[in-house]
């Protein structure tokens, strides 16, 4: 009974919490009035937009997601240094770009989206396309001499963790 009411009021609890945080960041002051207004808005907005969320991503291990975010932020900084060095110190003829095909084990659309975004933000690789049956990912690598190693790193570093988080 209580669970049903709670589910009615908070159809999407993570979205509610997220909206409260975004509201507080947007007004940039933490006061009781702002908090109340933020909570009211964050209860109303998921209720109104509920028809737009037919299914929700299933996150099995939220704590692992925090670890993943920290790893990705660190890799973004490393990626910037890598790409900056290639831009500054390598001539165009010296840069060996490759297309890399990454076979996917992930099946949920949210997990594939996360993986594609992560690949784009991390060292020297950009996701270009997904195969029509969502089983392979086409990745462009700015400079590498060993395309297979890049593919294995993507699989072991990111895909394995995303598989743990989402499945």
């Amino acid at each position: 009974m209580l669970g049903a009411i709670l589910r009615r009021v908070f159809p999407h609890p993570q979205l509610t919490a997220f909206l409260v945080v975004v509201w507080l960041l947007l007004v940039n002051t933490i006061s009781v009035g702002n908090l109340v207004l933020g909570v009211v808005l964050s209860v109303l907005i998921p209720g109104i937009t509920q028809p737009f969320w037919p299914d929700r991503p299933h996150v099995a291990r939220p704590l692992r997601a925090i670890e993943y975010v920290l790893i990705v932020i660190w890799d973004i900084i490393a990626a910037n240094v890598t790409v900056a060095r290639i831009i500054l110190f390598k001539s165009n003829a010296d840069t060996h770009s490759h297309w890399i095909v990454v076979p996917l084990e992930l099946r949920s659309p949210e997990a594939i989206t996360m993986l594609a975004g992560t690949i784009t933000m991390t060292p020297g690789t950009v996701t270009a396309m997904l195969s029509a049956d969502a089983s392979h990912l086409l990745v462009h690598c700015l400079h590498t001499d060993d395309p297979d190693a890049v593919r294995d790193e993507i699989k072991s570093r990111y895909e394995r963790r995303l598989k743990e988080i989402f499945e």
Partner: protein
């Protein structure tokens, strides 16, 4: 407020400026559209990130006013940068890249921009 805070803020500003400039320079220097895609998506993100971090540190340490809404812009850019890059890559391949220039998928179907798949075999429920 102190010398350490000032050095920290200046360092973040200088790093942000250098990376922002490198992103734009890469856009001019690299010689293929797919290669050019790497420079702005990455270097510019850290450029803006550095500046936003400096701005946050400046208002906390120097103006003594708590300010965290720069995090919103940083998060927004971080989320949208890969999506923009994917869209630009897809538009580029749609216009200028033939399918035979790409490696084969290794699966039953080709790449999404070139190959159609029937509704019954759609692996992702798009309805």
């Amino acid at each position: 407020m102190g010398l350490v805070a000032e050095i920290f803020i200046s360092f973040m500003l200088v790093v942000g400026g250098i990376f922002g400039l490198l992103g734009s320079w890469g856009l001019v220097k690299l010689d293929d559209t797919m290669r050019r895609l790497h420079a702005p998506t990455k270097a510019t993100t850290l450029g803006v990130g550095g500046v936003l971090f400096a701005s946050m540190a400046y208002s906390v340490l120097e103006l003594e006013r708590v300010s965290f809404h720069e995090l919103l812009i940083a998060a927004f850019l971080l989320i949208t940068a890969p999506i923009t890059a994917n869209f630009v890559a897809k538009a580029h391949m749609h216009r200028d890249v033939k399918e035979r220039e790409l490696p084969p998928t290794g699966g039953k179907y080709g790449w999404a921009g070139y190959d159609e798949i029937g509704d019954s075999e759609q692996p992702i429920d798009t309805k």
